[in-house]
Amino acid sequence: MPAKYHIHTEPAPPRVRPVGKLGIVDWREDCSSCHNCVKRDCVYGFYRDEADTLRDETGYLDYIYQCKGCLNCVQDCTKGILTRVVNPEYQRLGDAHYTPDIILSTWFQAESGRIPVSGAGYGGPFSGAGFDGMWTDMSEIVRPTRDGIHGREYISTSVDVGRKLAHLRFHDGELGVLPPPLIQSPLPVMFEAIPRHWQRGKVVTSICRAAAEIGLFSIVRSQDVPVELSVEQENIIPWLETAGAANNGALSAAMVMVGDGENVMAVQAALKDENADRIVGIRVPAGPEVKDRVLELTRQDAEVIHLVFGRNGRELGAARPRHMRQVLREVHTALVEDGTRDLVTLSASGGIALAEHMAKAVVCGADLVAIDVPLVLALECRLCGECQRDGVCPIALEDIEPRYATRRVINLLGAWHQQLVELLGAMGIREVRRLRGETGRCMFFEDLERETFGRLFGKRKEPDRAACAFATKP
């Protein structure tokens, strides 16, 4: 049995006061000083800590920021003067795509390296747009492997990146073709180039180091590669923004990326001439015509095609942009029908916010994904946007200590790895390579609705989502 891929995590508590969801507020004037709330009711001890900090104001007020919301103090207060509120700062976090819940969940994973767990069933909307309209399959009796307690201990999450051969050729009993170079990523995820406004202090260095420590690859614009990085260079995928940039320095990168363009195959050929063992990835903006472009590039010997979606995971430049889910399925199916799907590696970036998005993008046909915003969220970013306005970063990202930042990113990926294994284990699939395009192990909202309710109730009306406040989740 080969060694297990394991991401070592260790706690990395927040540097700055985290924003909690719930808080307790009170009206002190009617307090009977019974101290029930402090002494008896808070089983988590938060309220007691708050009472201490009133005299000695250090640290942050846990009862506002870390309240677990059990309501014991509110409901047992002798005078009924406590109530619970949703923290307005929490409600202002993030945006429609990176919701406050996603941000808090990412912080938790970056801090602990653990899978978010809770009881009492699922409380979210029935379904939603994009990846929220997909459910993954499970099996009652099939385990991925017979090893270990749950049979998922040896699930492989590793993928190959590069061009593959359609078939082998032999000549006089010897292999007659040279297999193209391949790199292996132990998780179906790369780190996407971080937008410039987040490239502060040691952020890029830390993210690259995190990738290197756990064997992943990080895409960095060639001129943004930090000077202090040398050992880790093998895990950096330089993104050469101009063809001439290929010669800038002695990058020993196993793979480079170039933007799509009319003569991109010539650029690829030039790069291969320079070093035949180097893989070239082509970044293609995922617009409405992307399917044809991918087919064309694949026929022209492209090795890796990296589809770049919008920040919310939707098509670029379309009047009604489709979600990555539809586009990836279309592209994947077209390649399968063309007989060329196995030749090329397809990756996708934009809007991948949760571990489940990584798995679902693979189900829809990507070999792997690339993430950017979750990496910065792991470093406690609140997406306040101050940095884009040249304002002061409320978490002082520029001062982040590299070792700590690396740890947070590794923790996040450790939790994502575990979650991917959970999904694969439930499906009874023992390697993520087999999940690619495996839509049979997935259920789509539209299909289930049509097959179940469509038969009973006729045609589905145009969605009237505004009627349901909760269902407007993007």
């Binding site: 014991n72 949703v86 979210g124 399959d137 006729g458 009306k461």
Partner: protein, 524 residues
Amino acid sequence: MSSSPSTISRTDPQSAEDFVSRPDYAEVSREVRPAPPRYRNEIGKYGIHRSSACIACGRCAEACPCGVHTRPDGYRLMVRPFDYRCIGPACAETDGYCVDACPQGALSLSENPAFKTIGDCRWTADLLVATWQMAETGRPPRPHLESEIGNSGGGFDRLRIRYPSSPPADLRREDISTELLLNRRNDARPKIKIDVPWYGGGMSFGSTSTNVLLGRARTAKAWNTLTCTGEGGYLDRLIPYKDHVITQVATGLFGVREETIQRAPVVEFKYAQGAKPGLGGHLLGDKNTPPVAAMREAVVGTSLFSPFPFHSIYSVEDHKKHLDWIEHVSPRALLSAKVSTPVDVDMVAVGSYYAGAHIVHLDGSYGGTGAAPNIAKKNIAMPIEYAIHRVHQFLVDEGIRDEITVIASGGLRTPADMAKAIALGADGVVVGTGELVAVGCIRCGNCESGRGCARGITTTDPELMQRTTIEWATQRLVNLYNAWRVMLVEILYRLGLDSVAALRGRTDLLEHLDYENNVEPNNA
């Protein structure tokens, strides 16, 4: 804990033998009695504030029909308002509006800010508070609370029951049957009937407080229905209720012994569960206290795994051997297969039938009470709303529908949900979260952290467990069951049906708000 005999009341049974020899202790009445909240400040939708202008004249208490204002005999001042009972601004249309009745203008009505922070899309604040009120009063909640649907934007929340304009004149509510037959096979096993079309889902000793487990078992006995051990073993204290307790055989086989199998009217094989379909169970070390460890024959403080899946089962044939094994151990038990809802859930159900199961229990992906990875709760397996009709129709097409009982669970919250599930094709349902809400769960989701549930429901911490008592939990659940039954009978009455069984598969009595509903019904 002191072991001195003097600390133990002689009237309280202690050992298993005591329980068996004291059948009177296990007698539970179905009678509805008030079971007030165990917290001083129960959460309601509205708040009533009484200012210092109050002169304690008592007019508010005279006016309010809901019991918000009280002044016990012999007291000069009013008790702080029980504002969780308040029905809100709609009261202004009635004669009982305290704000208008107060001669001093000392009362004011507002929304309760805490109310807005509880609940979620599936269990809205209204549903939580409505369930608490049912558990307190045993009656359907007042109309100021939405007590039929949640706000998830799909499934049950978008399905509606189509009522005829008027029910048949000769139908009487008291003649409506809510019985559920569990054994539809032509075999020698008992034709068990339960009085209501629902029973309690599995919650294990170790995950849930003993007081709550016993409350559930006592309620099952009172209402002639069932509850389930979960997989944490069979508590001796459940023996007096053995005719109403399902023994669960799950992958960890904790507490599965010959006697626990022979005791049970129904033995449930848990292949998978909706909360974490396809994943194993994991009792964290903190919850593995000495009594839990003794029950599970394990070492105190270690984490206990229930692997996934059964390591001896790889096919329907293996599944049949599994059922045969129990069949031979117990000549009277009915066999139930609890499965989750994969793509091929219909095939799974048929496989269970051919393996010999009397009951196939479909556990949909959005339910569950136990702690599970969030990614599993949200993403793995299909919601129960889809699975029920697929399975029902497939069994009909196979010609075996009337030989197996289909039970649905996983996110059913209200009698309206039950009616919709049955109309989609289930025979009955299993409830879990609803029961926990009745004993005070607010769905904060922190069931597993630290010492367990802060509200003393899903915990084995001796101190936290004291937050509930067996008697209180029993009465809350007895009341809830009564209210549910009243509401279910009302639905059947309005539909003009004389039994729950007559509702099964009647999709013509449903409509979906997101569809044009123009398909000609063929199963009326």
